[in-house]
Point group: C2
């Protein structure tokens, strides 16, 4: 598959982020679940936006961040996701295409607005996300471009796709096409609360459809309802071809068949904003994987890209990622 | 082997520690290799002892610390090692027997004095060890008690035994008896410099004689001459039955057949003096192992015992270890 047109096609919620600093006190007052992604309705989005400090807007979305990162590293990426034909939808489209990613999903016309995620970054660099899904709820199987999936080495799906009603159908359609074409299916568990919402379905998916799983420590322990990382590690082994598990400052652990790799975190990183850390890790890992690198090298690049992302504000890279890849594979 | 008379028989250098605080400046002036164990001759021992701050004397020795820890946890332990019939030798004998360990190696009469290890503890809690081996150089195969080895679940050998000339013969005699009796052979690599001195022999030992290996990160990377923990991890896999690898604040990793367990370090430990941390880990692990506990439980107790030891001055425990074991196996 090394001659595939795309290294990775990602499917996810197409979201524009609004990032601003906030104090813990604000999260408590507004009853926001710190560190998590919560879904909100339009009135709540308007109310919270009104209370938010002056912030910055930037294209986001978990799988979209990953594919933008992969393209930044030099990979060939495509994205499938639904925006509306409004200003934010145009901005999202511009940004992801400018990153070098193929993006052809038809815009939603005369419907909900483009999705927004209000991200409150607390002084400890943690991010708390409040998402209004907007146009994303209209993503359906008709948006899954068979050609893109077939001509990719990997199709990357975010767990958040289980939130909007019809995206799940798109998800399974993509997985089915992938299986027939020999395209690897990759899933990110997205968020511990998201795992809580869809645990049984995710377990079934991982056992039966997923080749490459991404999860952080809280997600994987939530998946198996255990209190300890090692217990989750023992359970995920053999359940899918590859599991790449991220552990923040403890680095990542990659399990593949009989192999277990422990990749230490990058040292000396000043953490400014953790938004997009997991997305960045997946980007680095998938770039390494699709370039035929070893699990340890892929994990190393994942960790390096995550370190880049958390060292500044916002979920997309600010430095030359091709240099990172060179360093990781040296 | 659950009905063995001893859980573990340990063979090692019988040493009395002299611990004192020192500044990094002192180590530099005296050209001492920080964090390592170096061998010194009697005149150097006298000179350094003269320059040392007021300190405390306490029974030490790597394998002796381990067996004392195992006994403290409730395990049945025996020790083989050589002291002289002098005041320090009497103190060592008293202490190890008071800990509940069987110790019957004949004292050296009319020879070198009991071994001493001058331990300089720097403000960063690191320890730098200068050892005068004294009577230890007289340990030989005639000291290996066949009955003890045969009636143990595990025989535990410290890598430092390769330093004195005849202890190596004792080492191999013990390994041979163990093999015939079905006693597991366990080795601690002791020190990265020790690994450097005997790398080829240690590799051969591990492949052909060792069932349970203990090593810290610098020792295992030194063994395979690699710059990265994960590379060493991949190499040690399958080379012996169990490898328990300690990583200081990163916890430990245990490899057994197809299993890899990641045991996080205890949280909130105030590090005062790292002397004996590895010995304590081995004690906790071997107690768990000989009690038939899982790899994860054994590693957990190892980490808990190491945390106890580094939270105070000196290499032997100060608190009720039986409580620790209860907590680890809960």
């Amino acid at each position: 598959m090394a001659n595939s047109k795309y290294d990775v096609t990602a499917i996810g919620n197409a979201i524009v982020d609004v990032l601003a600093h906030a104090e813990d006190k604000f999260l408590v007052e507004q009853k926001l679940a710190k560190g998590a992604m919560s879904l909100i309705d339009p009135p709540t989005a308007d109310r919270l936006y009104g209370l938010m400090n002056a912030g910055v807007e930037a294209s986001g979305g978990s799988a979209a961040n990953t594919i933008a990162g992969l393209a930044g590293l030099g990979g060939k990426g495509a994205f499938i996701g639904k925006v509306a034909n409004d200003k934010l939808g145009e901005a999202f489209t511009h940004d992801i295409r400018a990153a070098g990613v193929a993006f052809d999903t038809p815009m939603l016309v005369n419907g909900a607005t483009t999705a927004r995620c209000l991200i409150f970054v607390t002084p400890d660099a943690q991010r708390t996300m409040q998402t209004f899904l907007g146009a994303c709820v209209e993503l359906g199987p008709e948006d899954v471009e068979e050609d893109k999936i077939k001509n990719s080495q990997v199709v990357y799906l975010e767990g958040y796709l289980f939130d909007p009603p019809r995206a799940k159908e798109a998800f399974f359609k993509a997985a089915k096409i992938a299986k027939q074409a020999g395209t690897k299916v990759s899933l990110s568990l997205s968020d511990a609360f998201c795992v809580g919402r869809y645990r049984a379905e995710f377990l079934d998916l991982i056992k039966n459809h997923v080749d490459i799983l991404f999860a952080n420590e809280t997600e994987i322990t939530s998946l198996f309802e255990v209190d300890d990382f090692d217990k989750a590690l023992q359970q995920i082994k053999g359940m899918c071809e590859i599991a790449a598990l991220t552990r923040s400052e403890k680095g990542s652990v990659i399990v593949k068949a009989g192999e277990t790799h422990i990749v230490d975190a990058e040292k000396g990183v000043k953490v400014v904003d953790t938004t997009g850390a997991g997305d960045a890790y997946a980007a680095g890992f998938l770039y390494g994987y699709t370039q035929g690198k070893s699990m340890a090298q892929a994990g190393k690049l994942g960790g390096m890209l995550a370190a880049e992302i958390i060292s500044h504000y916002g979920a997309r890279a600010e430095s030359d990622l091709k240099q990172l890849a060179k360093k990781a594979f040296a």
